[in-house]
């Protein structure tokens, strides 16, 4: 555990040398800008509810791009060997990688705080839902990073990592969101759809921090981090 901040720092720094990170950041901020422009009109409520929801769509797109190389590249270039032959544990590597890319996600999210400032200048926003909305976005981000990190640990190919994590995120986010609008859904499928990311996130945009939803994101994040460390250890069983 001791070495994970070192690894996280290196990871965060390496994002600033990576073109894909800039592409993702630009994509995210430009898209958010357009959406915010639609909301930021006179007569509209001074809130960020719709933009938060759209941010989640963007996260499904960009987090796999940000995380695809995290471990896949280490496998491909062999740096995993120099990493794991230094006195570090698998958990150090997994936590370090996670913290590094989660930190970059926060860096990417930070410029959107400008919207809060703009709302403050032109209106009297209610800070409660904005705060809980950001907290929720961060939790969703952590969960997505953890899932993508897991996908990245399974392969040497960044493309495979990106595609598989996009598919997984799509499955837990977009599919239930789409299905939930179908009124015919009932029983098992209805409750399954209610486990989707949007359903769990909904409370946060309303300013409610529900312990259940909170635990949902934290638990999934933890499970995938655990699985990732097991994948790293698996080279010992082969």
């Amino acid at each position: 555990m001791l070495r994970s901040p070192t690894i996280a720092r290196r990871e965060l720094a390496s994002y600033f040398h990576s073109p894909i990170a800039y592409v993702a950041m630009t994509l995210f901020l430009v898209a958010c800008g357009f959406w915010f422009r639609d909301d930021f009109q006179s007569g509209q409520p001074a809130e960020m509810r719709s933009i938060f929801n759209q941010m989640i769509f963007m996260q499904v797109l960009i987090i796999p791009l940000l995380c695809m190389g995290l471990l896949a590249q280490e496998w491909a270039t062999g740096t995993m060997e120099s990493m794991m032959t230094a006195p570090v544990e698998e958990t150090d590597v997994v936590l370090g990688k996670f913290m590094g890319s989660f930190a970059f996600f926060l860096v990417l999210l930070a410029p959107t705080l400008l919207y809060v400032v703009m709302l403050r200048i032109y209106a009297q926003p209610d800070y409660g839902p904005i705060f809980s909305g950001y907290l929720g976005i961060a939790l969703v981000g952590a969960m997505f990073v953890s899932i993508s990190l897991f996908c990245s640990s399974l392969t040497k190919s960044q493309i495979v990592a990106a595609v598989s994590s996009s598919a997984l995120l799509f499955l837990v986010t977009i599919v239930p969101w789409y299905a939930s609008s179908k009124a015919t859904l009932s029983g098992f499928w209805r409750s399954a759809v209610d486990q989707g990311v949007f359903a769990k996130y909904a409370d946060f945009t309303k300013g409610v921090i529900d312990t259940g939803s909170l635990m949902y994101f934290v638990a999934i994040t933890a499970v995938f981090l655990f699985l990732t460390s097991k994948v790293l250890e698996s080279r010992r069983w082969k």
Partner: protein, 318 residues
Amino acid sequence: MISVSNLTKVYGQTLAVDHVSFEVAKGSIVGFLGPNGAGKSTTIRMLTCYFPPTSGTATVNGFDIFHQSLQVRENIGYLPESVPLYTEMRPDEYLDFRGRLRGLDRPTRKKRIEYVLERCWLTNVRTKLIGHLSKGYRQRVGLADSLLHNPAVLILDEPTVGLDPTQIRETRKLIRDLGGDHTVMLSTHILPEVEAVCDRAIVIASGRIVAQGSPEELRTSRRNVARVLVECRGPAKDVETALTRVSGVYSVEILPSNGQADKYVTAAVKPKESYDVREEVARTIIQNGWPLREIRLEHATLEEFFVQVVANQAVAKA
């Protein structure tokens, strides 16, 4: 310093390393020699705790590679064969990262980084991106990293592959200088490297140790290894007969002339045991009135030994 007993690694159906045992004494430089695919890297990866052996044990600096993996890794400096580096970093950044990873405190880290940059001739490229460095420089960055924490044991997997001749000489000199302070184990398939650098060689082929000893011992361990080469002007047949009669001579072979129009012949004379037949041979030739151009004792090279050993191994397998 390194003690290996019955180390075995099985990948699926393939037996990569087969009951390998050896010892490496403190401060010595040992060459781990073998053809490609012999199991050198696999053995090294087990010693550096990248993966555990299927069976068998090994200790490095007294620590068990399976049960005390962290301590082993603290005591080893390892240069993997492919020299994996983060190409977006600069050498000093990379070394700083590796130093932190190894838990060196700031003053030690600074001091050691300066030292290894100096030692591996990297000071002039310390702020260039590793991705822009040539293979030779990258190799040195890898070497610098392995020296960073002043480890008791250095394990270098093919440290001179891909370097130009000058760099190879410099690297070998560096490795020789490191022996004594550090116990060095280097793997290679280049024989002159072992002769130039190592105190001892361990020869591995098809996952098994086939010979070990000093380069000198290995060279002389095969029978009839030395031979005397004679070049003189005379009829080939007569030269052969005359030399065969010399006492102490085991066999004479007339070597094919390399297209020379003059009448010189080259004969390879193999003596019995380690008997030096040069004087007798010279006398015989003078007595026959053949002008003598050259007479020289040729030691068997480690290369010949190696080819023999590996060929024997291949025959045994088949």
